[in-house]
């Protein structure tokens, strides 16, 4: 299957990429391409041009900025899994990355691409929300940093202008993380999350939980958080908190799993995620 005709550009800098996006209003950014190229091959997307930013070195790699861990948007899942900083300080991201697609997909797929794509069944939005990450982007009017809860607006809809480029994912207050995890119930064929839960316990007793897969876009489980935060992670407290996992959320259903089933699984996986924070 061939995609429809398009122009291909490989700019050397983010500012050149922004210029190309402004000159070509129907253009799309190309990162790992493992979400975009399949929909182009099916002609569900027909951008006039692709702007390949995957090799811009400023957008690659993991670094520490004080107590913040900064992931370049074009860092692939497998590069993230190989990062010593991530291994030592945020191993929950390795668990999450190891859950994405398969080896070949992880060798191409990027963290920034996953964020900008806002796939409702994507794994990373959930763990990034639970970690209270920030997403930095650059556009013609300069840069801005948004919280992940602002950024993940809706299904396939990030809070991002068409001529704006995601440059960094920033995870703040890393030393305050006592324990963090990502668990999911994967669709057995596609590997996408039917339900995925990101969970973080901080040193000052807060619990941050988020869900993906069962809802239109990854979201925090605020009712669970307020029920459990500051309390012991006893079996009874966990059970009571996990029961609130469906509060305030709309669930999605499809041929693979109904909305009722996904809502049920959200409670089950919220409980399991809380248990693993003990």
């Amino acid at each position: 299957m061939y995609p429809a005709e398009f122009d291909y550009h490989r700019p050397e800098s983010v500012s050149d990429a922004i210029k190309l996006l402004q000159e070509n209003p129907e253009a799309k950014l190309l990162a790992g391409g493992h979400s975009l190229l399949p929909v182009m091959k099916l002609r569900l997307a027909q951008p006039s041009a692709l702007v390949d930013i995957s090799r811009i070195s400023d957008l690659k790699g993991v670094r520490e900025d004080g107590d913040t861990i900064v992931i370049g948007a074009m860092t692939t899942y497998s590069e993230l899994m190989g990062s010593d900083v991530i291994k030592q300080k945020l191993p929950c991201l390795i668990d999450a990355a190891d859950n994405v697609g398969d080896v070949q997909v992880r060798n191409m797929g990027t963290i920034g691409g996953a964020c900008a794509h806002c796939d409702p069944a994507s794994d990373f939005p959930a763990i990034l929300l639970a970690l209270e990450s920030e997403i930095k982007s650059v556009g013609p009017n300069g840069e801005r940093t948004q919280s992940s809860s602002e950024f993940f607006m809706d299904m396939f809809t990030p809070k991002l202008e068409p001529d704006e480029v995601v440059t960094e994912i920033r995870i703040p207050n890393v030393s305050n993380i006592a324990k963090a995890t990502y668990i999911k119930f994967a669709h057995p064929a596609s590997g996408y999350a039917i339900v995925g839960i990101g969970a973080v316990r901080t040193n000052d007793g807060n619990v941050q939980l988020s869900v993906t897969g069962s809802v239109p876009i990854a979201a925090r489980l605020s009712a669970v958080e307020s029920e459990i935060s500051g309390k012991d992670l006893s079996d009874d407290n966990i059970k009571a908190a996990a029961e609130k996992a469906t509060e305030g959320l709309d669930f999605v259903g499809d041929i693979h799993a109904s909305d009722e089933y996904r809502a049920h699984l959200t409670k089950v996986y919220a409980r399991r995620a809380l248990e693993s924070l003990k």
Partner: protein, 161 residues
């Protein structure tokens, strides 16, 4: 839109003019005539098109030839040296890791990526790392054995690439 790309495939440098929308798998098969890399599902699920791209396994039905400009690629044709099968190929031969053989090139390239990272994988690691490759004949049992054969053989012969 046409682009000039230069890629090194199995150690040989090629310079070609390609269309923006040409997929890498079609470049490899139809321009370079290396037809060992297969097109299976054409939707990045089955892994039959797996090659090594700058040393890492990728599904080249989901890549553009233009993205490969400057890259080092290895396909299934690059594994055997002077007529001697690579230990992974030998493993698939000895352990009956294939029946129809359609998935085999991709399966072998994904196994190559695995054994580079984890030279002595256990069964669970082999199955997890080959999740991106589908085989409709073998039930995977013999593929696991094939990779174990290769792992043993390669660890006994240090320096083997």
């Amino acid at each position: 839109m046409k682009h000039e790309i230069t890629v090194t495939v199995n150690g040989t440098k090629h310079t070609s003019e390609v269309d923006s929308r040409m997929l890498l798998v079609h470049y490899i098969r139809d321009v370079l005539n290396l037809t060992g890399t297969h097109v299976g599902c054409d939707t990045s699920q089955c892994g039959a098109c797996t090659i090594l791209f700058n040393g890492k396994a990728v599904k080249c039905c989901t890549m553009l030839a233009a993205q490969a400009d400057g890259a080092e690629i290895m396909t299934i044709e690059g594994l055997a040296k002077n007529g001697d099968l690579h230990p992974i190929q030998e493993g698939f031969w000895e352990e009956h890791g294939l029946q129809c053989g359609f998935c085999t090139p991709g399966m072998i390239m994904a196994s190559y990526d695995l054994l580079q990272r984890i030279p002595n994988p256990d069964e669970q690691q082999i199955r997890h790392n080959l999740e991106g490759n589908l085989c409709r004949c073998t039930g995977y049992q013999n593929i696991v054995k094939s990779v174990q054969f290769a792992s043993k053989k390669m660890s006994g012969a240090p320096g083997d690439d």
